[in-house]
């Protein structure tokens, strides 16, 4: 029980603090940099900047048809594990209970067997992503330690969650404690690595959307 108490208590509290402070620090550190104003006149008929930004955020949800084939594996595999993670995090009854205790918000859970299945598929997609990263010359060249660490921090809660759900390998309380500790590790790492794209993607796409909608280009 001691490990579980530590995981649920001190560990999660510290992890949340690092997660929130780190994320805000990184966001502020970027968004407070000087803005380079564009004084060039906009293309006739260009949308307002914010609309250009929102359009780019939405359009980049799926590759342009010219690039679909070449990016097919990464696109579909990424969608599988992103959606999978979201369904597991927000669909499993114990997770909803945890969120309710924290925020008071709750919603109907998905059947636990279904969530387990989704978890397995998610794990498979994450393993696929790693395999590709290790094999593809471009991805090998681009990958730094932080990229592998981001993968590890994402996959550990999935693995430990699956083990805890299936009561495999140790006592349930121990498995649950390890699962919570893996989530704590994910939260601590989040602000420092590329997992931050969960927040940054909208800003990054939006900035390009603003730049090019001003010029009359649909990016």
């Amino acid at each position: 029980m001691e490990l579980l108490d530590f995981a649920r208590g001190t560990a999660l509290a510290i992890a949340f603090a690092v997660f929130v402070a780190g994320t805000l620090w990184r966001l502020a550190g970027v968004l407070l940099l000087p803005r380079i104003r564009d004084f060039s006149p906009a293309r006739e008929g260009a949308p307002p900047a914010m609309l250009g930004a929102v359009r780019a955020v939405l359009r980049r949800m799926w590759p342009r048809k010219e690039f679909v084939q070449a990016t097919m594996f990464a696109t579909i595999n990424s969608y599988v594990f992103h959606i999978g993670l979201a369904l597991v995090v927000f669909g499993l009854a114990p997770h909803i209970l945890f969120i309710r205790n924290l925020t008071g918000l709750a919603w109907p859970a998905l059947p636990s067997n279904l969530v387990f299945g989704i978890g397995v598929i998610t794990l498979a997609a994450l393993v696929g992503a790693l395999a590709r990263r290790l094999v593809h010359p471009v991805l090998r060249l681009l990958s730094h330690t932080g990229d592998y660490l981001s993968w590890l921090m994402t996959v550990l809660p999935v693995i430990t969650g699956l083990l805890a759900t299936s009561h495999l390998g140790a006592r349930y309380e121990t498995l649950l404690a390890v699962h919570i500790l893996s989530v704590a590790a994910l939260l601590v790492w989040f602000p420092f690595g590329k997992l931050m794209h969960a927040v940054l993607f909208a800003f990054s796409r939006g900035a390009t959307g603003m730049r090019f909608s001003h010029r009359g280009v649909n990016v």
């Binding site: 060039s40 342009r64 690039f67 420092f192 590329k194 940054l200 730049r211």
Partner: protein, 437 residues
């Protein structure tokens, strides 16, 4: 004895200018890199998920299959400068030695990736799921490379000429003679140095040498309008080599030469030549040197022609043959002028057969960003050219037209190398040759 040779290649793939020490070069590059990080550049440095999709959009990667040509990899020194010196966790990154300081040999090695194998065409920007504008970041990285005296010699040579002459092609004082000769050859008046005019007409370097027909074509069309226009020694070459090389001081000087000349002669419009980078430098970046909207309108030849046709100020004959069009990156993908050339071709009654990749996702000619002038990059450029050649061939169109002189030269050189019998036509010249009397 090691089986791996440590001997340096006979011809290193980098050039150096100036006599400064290695340390000074690295410091200069770093200082410049760090200065570039405004909100957008920083957001784009922060957001990469290292997915490698940008490789699939890059003609250099597609043509060679070499991982080093992955666009975001070309920014590795820039990324390290950001993380160590400018990012939100920079003190931590430096203190813990997480990202190592840049070394001179790394900058030298990256010169090839930043100058020879990137045309700043921005096709990678179109595929990036995070929307990172990699082409713009490469341009910013070039600023640091220039400060470090680490640009290809050919580009450095052109830079010095432009610093002295206002153009890499010719000194301004030769302009009157060049224009007089072109006027005589083509039988059309080309005004020079008028003290007052409504339109200041500018040129691309090749138009001041081999391709003076472009100047004559513009003159022929402008004559129909009955407007007062002139070219001017004070600002005549709009191609802006500073924009390509990463020489910000030169970019500003060349920009100011044109805008200030326009203001001096009371011109309301600056007409840019059929040149992609001229459009990028003047249409979208010129205002930043003035800190406010410019009092003159900057218009590219292609949109000018489309406007004249749409407003019926000129009429063109029906050519009525098949055509395919190469979209110059800087005026279409990065400039928003996709419709204008198509309007002109439709007015000519031409049946446009689009290439497999066209418009904002069209492949670059392979010569943009100074690559066509950087002779040592020719073998790589010829490989890249093959992608375009195949797409053009596949259309089986009778005419092949573009609206950028730099692209045209790249195609002419590529065709010569590949023994490919295909003429690249200029949209401007096509219009001028088919004006209704």
């Amino acid at each position: 004895m090691s089986a791996v040779s440590t001997a340096r290649p006979a011809h290193p793939a980098y050039d150096q200018q100036g006599e400064q020490s290695d340390e000074t070069r690295v410091d200069a590059a770093m200082r410049s890199f760090v200065r570039e990080f405004g909100v957008t550049a920083a957001l784009h440095m922060e957001s990469c998920v290292r997915c490698g999709m940008c490789a699939e959009a890059c003609h250099f990667y597609v043509a060679t299959g070499e991982a080093k040509h992955t666009p975001i990899h070309k920014l590795e020194p820039f990324r390290r400068a950001y993380l160590r010196e400018a990012g939100p966790f920079a003190p931590l990154v430096r203190g813990l030695g997480i990202v190592k300081k840049l070394r001179i040999d790394e900058l030298q090695k990256w010169q090839e990736l930043i100058y020879d194998s990137c045309t700043m065409c921005g096709r990678c920007t179109m595929v990036c799921p995070m929307g990172i504008d990699i082409a713009e970041l490469v341009k910013e990285a070039r600023h640091g490379m220039f400060k470090a005296g680490l640009v290809p010699d050919r580009l450095a040579l052109m830079d010095r000429a432009a610093q002295k002459w206002g153009s890499p092609a010719t000194p301004g004082e030769d302009l009157p003679d060049i224009l007089a000769e072109a006027a005589k050859q083509y039988g059309v008046d080309i005004p020079c140095d008028l003290p007052q005019a409504d339109i200041l007409v500018t040129a691309a370097p090749a138009e001041l040498g081999e391709h003076t027909k472009a100047l004559a074509s513009a003159a022929k069309i402008l004559k129909r309008l009955g407007v007062k226009w002139t070219m001017h020694q004070g600002g005549f070459d709009a191609s802006n080599i500073g924009f390509n090389n990463g020489d910000l001081a030169l970019q500003e000087r060349l920009t100011r030469a044109i805008i200030d000349t326009a203001l001096k002669i009371g011109a309301k419009t600056v007409l840019l030549p059929e040149c992609g980078h001229a459009y990028g430098a003047a249409r979208w970046e010129a205002a930043k040197w003035y800190g406010k909207a410019l009092p003159v309108r900057i218009v590219h030849m292609t949109e000018f022609l489309a406007e004249l046709i749409e407003s019926k100020r000129i009429q063109v004959k029906n050519v009525g043959e098949t055509v395919t069009f190469h979209d110059p990156c800087q005026i279409v993908r990065r400039g928003g002028l996709q419709a204008a050339p198509r309007t002109v071709l439709a007015a000519l009654g031409m049946d446009l057969i689009e290439m497999k990749d066209h418009g904002v996702t069209g492949y670059c000619c392979g010569g943009g960003g100074g690559v066509v002038s950087n002779v040592r990059a020719s073998p790589l450029r010829h490989k890249v050219f093959e992608i375009k050649r195949q797409q053009i061939e596949a259309t089986a169109a009778k005419h092949f037209v573009t609206s950028c002189g730099q692209c045209q030269i790249t195609f002419e050189q590529g065709a010569k190398f590949a023994h490919w019998e295909r003429k690249t036509e200029s949209l401007l010249e096509l219009v001028a040759d088919n004006l209704v009397d």
